[in-house]
Amino acid sequence: MQATATVVEFPDAAAREAAEELKAVKAAARGDRRAFEALYRAHVGRINRLCLRLTGSRETAEDCVQDAFVSAWRALPRFEVRSSFSTWLHRIAVNAVLARRRGLASSLEITVDEDVTALDRRVSLDAPPLDLEAAIRALPTGARLVLVLVGLYGFSHDEAARELGIAVGTSKAQLHRARALLAAHLDLAGEAV
């Protein structure tokens, strides 16, 4: 009986939550800063995690989170309520990270000096060997960005390539490379046996 009640109540709770969020989004779009703060509190953990994964640096990630929410505030009047606020905010955060990277004139393409041992060297220096987040942070930049966008946040290769300014083929190659590096680092072959 209890399990049935849970199943029945969950959609209502989720719908209520969505309705509350939509109300906050509309209020924030009209300039209500308290409503925007509520949205910030509700989403900052996820956005920070995304930025942290994309940048590999806590400090830079926090700057990007701040940029993202400021950009979101400015863009809110143009937000279309039929789309998910969370998805929209994630896109803005990705743009904030990439804008910051472009400002630093960084290259996202594979470079010849990023060999497959780079991950092992970096992880062994500053993280426990089986910490997957640390392993992701230690991936070569191009591989990390594609893995995070496509492998973790559901971007298509077309979308990731567009966001990152790389070819679709490069995006696919980077994902393959990232997964190979992670699998090797985590010794998944041994685990699978």
């Binding site: 800063r33 509190r41 806590r58 990630a61 393959h176 685990e191």
Partner: protein, 188 residues
């Protein structure tokens, strides 16, 4: 050992799917965001201006709010001192929406004079804290003024400057309110 192997690929996918979706930042970023959206309003600001001033403005908000709360809790620690002949009215009434002109500069100088006198009523630790916070406010003020010299018509910079000035006056007022009991005691 490649992720093309279905078993390895599935194991990796399972690990990735199990990663926690959230991680709160180490510090609360809201004060900085609030400072920036309050200063910037709608529309885009120039990226080269945003980063340093957002940090400065956020820091100013944080230190001022932090100081106000901290000082409130330390009222009992105030050190009694000689009666200060301060222009209390000016300190209490200070609030300038548009800082400009000779009147403003005179009043500001008077406020600063009063503030210096009131400082002697604070404990050494409180005084140190106030001076440090004020230094942050003034540094932000200087940054914005330098940027304004290059772009005097920038509405974003002008609003930021206005906000920073208000922060400075708020700090003076906090000192005035916090030292009022000691001043009253010394007068009676």
């Amino acid at each position: 050992m490649t992720p093309e192997d279905p078993t390895i690929g599935a194991a990796l996918d399972a690990r990735l799917a199990a990663l926690p979706p959230e991680e709160a930042p180490a510090r609360d970023l809201w004060p900085g965001i609030l400072a920036e959206i309050s200063a910037g309003g709608a529309g885009r600001s120039r990226p080269w201006l945003r980063a340093p001033f957002a940090v400065a403005a956020g820091l100013v908000l944080a230190v001022t709010a932090g100081f106000a709360g901290w000082l409130g809790g330390r009222q009992a620690g105030l050190v009694g001192g000689p009666a200060a002949g301060t222009p209390d009215a000016a300190m209490r009434q200070a609030s300038f929406a548009v800082p400009a002109g000779r009147d403003y500069l005179e009043t500001r100088a008077e406020l600063e004079r009063a503030y210096r006198e009131r400082l002697s009523l604070l404990t050494p630790a409180a005084r140190l804290r106030v001076e440090r916070d004020l230094a942050v406010v003034r540094a932000a003020n200087e940054d914005i003024r330098r940027a304004l010299a290059a772009d005097p018509q920038s509405p974003v910079l002008n609003r930021l400057l206005e906000g920073i000035w208000q922060q400075e006056f708020d700090l003076y007022q906090t000192v005035a309110r916090s030292t009022d009991p000691a001043v009253q005691r010394n007068r009676t």
